[in-house]
Amino acid sequence: MMESLLQTLLNGAATGGVYALVALGYTLIFSVLGVINFAQGALFSLGGYATYLLMGGRIGVNGAWPGLGLPVALPFTLALLVAALVTALASLLVERLAFAPLRRRGAEPLQSLITSLGAGVVLVNLLQILMGAEGYAFPAGAEALAGLPDMLILAGARIRTIQVLLLAICAGAVVLLSLWLERSRSGKALRAVAEDFTTARLLGIDSDAMVRLAFALSGVLAGLGGGLVGLSVSLTGPYFGISYGLKGLAVLVLGGLGSVPGAIAGGLLMGLAEALVPADASGWREALAFAILFAVLLLRPGGLLGRIQPDKV
């Protein structure tokens, strides 16, 4: 009994780590622009498929073109990093198409919510057309793990190595990001822009460049998350990213819009809550994140750790 609880908690923490990554991606952009990038989930999917292809995976395009793939077969970590680069570029493209034109015009934030939603839908459905709706399991899990055993025994519980890897990489990414935001010059510049766009500009910080940096970083996070999930669970169709994206929204609100520690805490909480849903109610698991979101919105609209933006008169 004890070991299955530990197993459950570790699984939950691993899932939670991914949710935290997604939520962090949103947070980065929300804190500099005050808007939600609805294309984040689509970038997540892109990350998964890019990693898969870079590892030498083959796609079938709905049976129309079986065996199509890239002429490379990189080891997992390298594929993951390259995929993260790809999603970073894609994220910049999204910024260019969906956010920049509206920002130039001084349009309301809700407009960019809509355009980024459109960008995400276009991306996911292009993926759908290209990759087809088949599921893809990543090539040879054992090779991917570079010789590590498939299962580890931790305090008497059996846990899949990939789950631990997932948690480790998520934690690593979060720590690196936080350190970068705190210590580095560009990190501090980014935070300055997040605090006050105009003042930062007056201080000589290129706010537009910081916005692009935020998008690139959140693209990296999405790519990492997508690749990790793809490896650990397999790809079940481009819409899996949308699902993570929507749940990431729930985590974002749970932890408070614009709060980095909130995104992390919220992600872990959500992952754990989902893992604790008993197996016979598993169909309802999908709704749990949103039920929690609803409850949080009603009781504390600012989320657990965030701040509500007051209206300026």
């Binding site: 939600i36 276009v122 169909g283 609803f294 609209p301």
Partner: protein, 296 residues
């Protein structure tokens, strides 16, 4: 080219577009329409297949009064639900509201998928038909659309309609002028829900089967595209957008497979290229003055 079946679907699209339009006319981005659409359809599917009193015949027919009863009950159910949910959710500002309505859609979808009596993933099939073929549906669907359009038109002259426009333009100023903005937003939300629910009832019978996939995030996206393209400043906009964007994928086969890419592009480019959509009040003005000029 456009057969009766497609025409009915186009009109259903127009109705859903109107449902998304109503909260937007009060400045609220609500993506909740598919939730109430799904609830209305589920109610109709359940009642007509399980409640003998409605007289769903063994031959798959359904007496007309039963359809009307279903419409009434669906309107009631969705209206009450919207009032309860809206009362809680409309306190929230823009982005929070949008997210809350997305969450609502997901919760309803999962509920319909998992509740024991709604048929799971397969859903409910063999829903009795009040009409023998598609052309029969034209009357009630068109009727509902005309009713909804008339309501929207009337709304503009009533205090509620003016208040909605005021709230849309500047909620704070509206509040300081004595307008209870929460009430205004709630009214728009409830009207939107009732419209979506009624449309669901008609759609469930028309489609003959009903499942959780009828009320998904995709539908939020599609119906939003109807309004963004058709026009967000006048009720004729979503009607036009709904009909056009429902017909296009069916008429153009290659586009048909990329239906959602099309909707995505509309939503991506719409606010940038045509912020008010295609049917704008300015356009209507010009058309109106042309008509008046021709009449002279």
């Amino acid at each position: 080219m456009i057969d009766n079946g497609l025409l009915v679907q186009m009109l259903l699209g127009a109705l859903l577009g109107l449902s998304v339009y109503l909260p937007l006319a009060a400045g609220q981005l609500s993506l909740a329409t598919p939730a109430f659409y799904a609830i209305g359809g589920t109610l109709a599917a359940l009642l007509s297949t399980r409640w003998a009193l409605l007289g769903g015949g063994a031959d798959g027919s359904l007496p007309l009064p039963s359809l009307l009863l279903e419409l009434l009950l669906a309107a009631l159910l969705t209206g009450v639900l919207a009032a309860l949910v809206g009362g809680l959710v409309l306190r929230l500002r823009g982005i929070y509201l949008a997210i809350a309505t997305i969450a609502l859609v997901e919760i309803v979808r999962v509920a319909i998928l998992n509740l024991p009596f709604t048929g799971g993933a397969v859903g409910i099939f063999g829903i009795p038909q009040p009409f023998a073929d598609a052309s029969g549906y034209l009357l009630p669907v068109l009727g509902l659309l005309i009713l909804a359009g008339w309501l929207c038109q009337r709304l503009e002259a009533l205090p509620l309609g003016q208040a909605m426009a005021a709230v849309r333009d500047d909620e704070l100023a509206a509040e300081c002028l004595g307008i209870d903005t929460t009430q205004v937003k709630l009214s728009a939300f409830v009207l939107s829900a009732v419209l979506a629910g009624s449309t669901g009832v008609l759609a469930a019978h028309f489609l003959n089967t009903w499942n959780a996939r009828q009320g998904t995030f995709d539908v939020s996206v599609a119906t939003l595209a109807f309004v963004i393209l058709g026009g967000s400043r006048t009720w004729l906009g979503p009607v036009f957008g709904g009909m056009l964007l429902t017909a296009l994928p069916e008429l153009l086969r290659p586009v048909g497979d990329a239906r959602l890419v099309l909707f995505g592009l509309v939503i991506l480019l719409g606010p940038v290229l045509a912020p008010q959509g295609l049917i704008t009040p300015a356009l209507l003005e010009r058309l109106g003055s042309l008509g008046r000029g021709a009449g002279r």
